[in-house]
Symmetry: C2
Subunit: 205 residues, 2 copies
DNA sequence: AGCAAACCATAACAGCGTTATGTATAGTAT
DNA sequence: ATACTATACATAACGCTGTTATGGTTTGCT
């Protein structure tokens, strides 16, 4: 006999509902357990097994949701005529997203990595690679600049800062180090110093 | 009635024994629980409460042990006449230590930060600050270089790389990015490019 | 209409961190 | 030496966790 308040939904709706609720509880800093997750939703603990194959699968789904949202945030940025500025803007949006959702950011990176996580992270990185390629086309970076290398190094800076501030010992203001660090990196890749400083400052602000 | 195989040790010995065993299990990638930790040691689960006030306190102690070991590794480096080379050597030792003890490194940074953790992390950072100061005295960096700022930025690079490789999506080879990244950073602080490249390469190797 | 598969509520299980209780030990004052 | 007190900790129980088993309900296909 099902309970009166029973909810009967199609597959994807239940999936989304549980992921959404997990993200919510993460933001509210409520401890997440199988039972606390489904309490008040009308779905039973078994739903988590039907849709995610256990709590680990749920975390994996949340991780991917985090990357999806990050991608959405980065997609909202429209390229300008200054690709170096765009690179800085991507970095700015990246750390701002981490700062806005610190617990989600932690979940995204605190687990052993599997193939699906790799693909999600790769999609994020790809945006940086594209921006570097545009900058190279515009002659801002040296010809021997490897776009994937420079993009990865930009990511390392963004993640290092995000990780040490939102979930670590550095104070929030340390996020500002992104400006001199990205500037130093882009200048080393061949960009003209004064112009680079302007571009990064604009993209960051 | 105590069991026959009962062990009776002084306070610090039990503390060290449990921390050491936790570090061991971490390295062996065995799941650590209160019961699995004390199994075979002759001490009861209550000892963890006597000495650490629960499992969270145990993790905190492990975290501090991690920072202590890291400090010991960095202390083993003797300064040369080239402080920029020394900075690179510190970075190299930092990521090598993370690579050698990936699980311990994760524990060190995966928890909410409290004051004692802060102090331990600060001691690590201090070594970098000193090296930057020596480089400034030698005229390698611009006069307006703030040692704490540059040291922190070096740390961000080291942690970003360590975090994304030992517990994240980047392959081990990505650790090599430290060389161009540190070089770019030090050049931006005023070091002469060719000399800087040599110093970093020597410090890293 | 009948059948097979999916769905999932309920309940039981082992393991977790923690708390409670009482006994043995260590140290100190008498 | 004796009595007292605080510490150390073995044992057991408690409420929680994720997981598995079971069986009834619902759905969709034939």
């Amino acid at each position: 006999m099902y309970s009166i308040a029973m909810v009967r939904l199609k597959d994807p709706a239940v999936r989304s509902l549980l992921i959404e609720r997990a993200a919510q509880m993460l933001r509210a800093r409520e401890p997440i357990s199988l039972r606390s997750l489904v309490d008040g939703t009308g779905v039973s603990t078994m739903a988590v097994y039907t849709y995610f194959d256990g709590i680990d699968g749920l975390w994996k789904a949340v991780r991917q949701e985090g990357f999806t949202r990050l991608s959405a945030v980065l997609d909202r940025l429209t390229p300008t005529t200054d690709p170096v500025r765009d690179l800085a803007a991507l970095g700015s949006a990246y750390v701002a997203n981490a700062e806005a959702n610190p617990d989600l950011y932690r979940v995204m990176f605190d687990a052993a990595v599997d193939l699906e996580d790799l693909a999600a992270a790769d999609a994020t990185l790809h945006r940086l690679v594209e921006a570097v390629e545009r900058a190279k086309t515009d002659g801002r970076f040296a010809d021997d600049t490897e776009p994937l290398d420079l993009a990865t190094q930009s990511w390392v800076i963004g993640h290092g800062l995000a990780s040490l501030t939102v979930a670590g010992p550095l104070p929030r203001e340390a996020l500002g180090y992104a400006v001199p660090m990205l500037t130093a990196l882009f200048i080393s890749a061949g960009d003209e110093p004064a112009r680079c400083r302007r571009s990064v400052a604009r993209g960051w602000g």
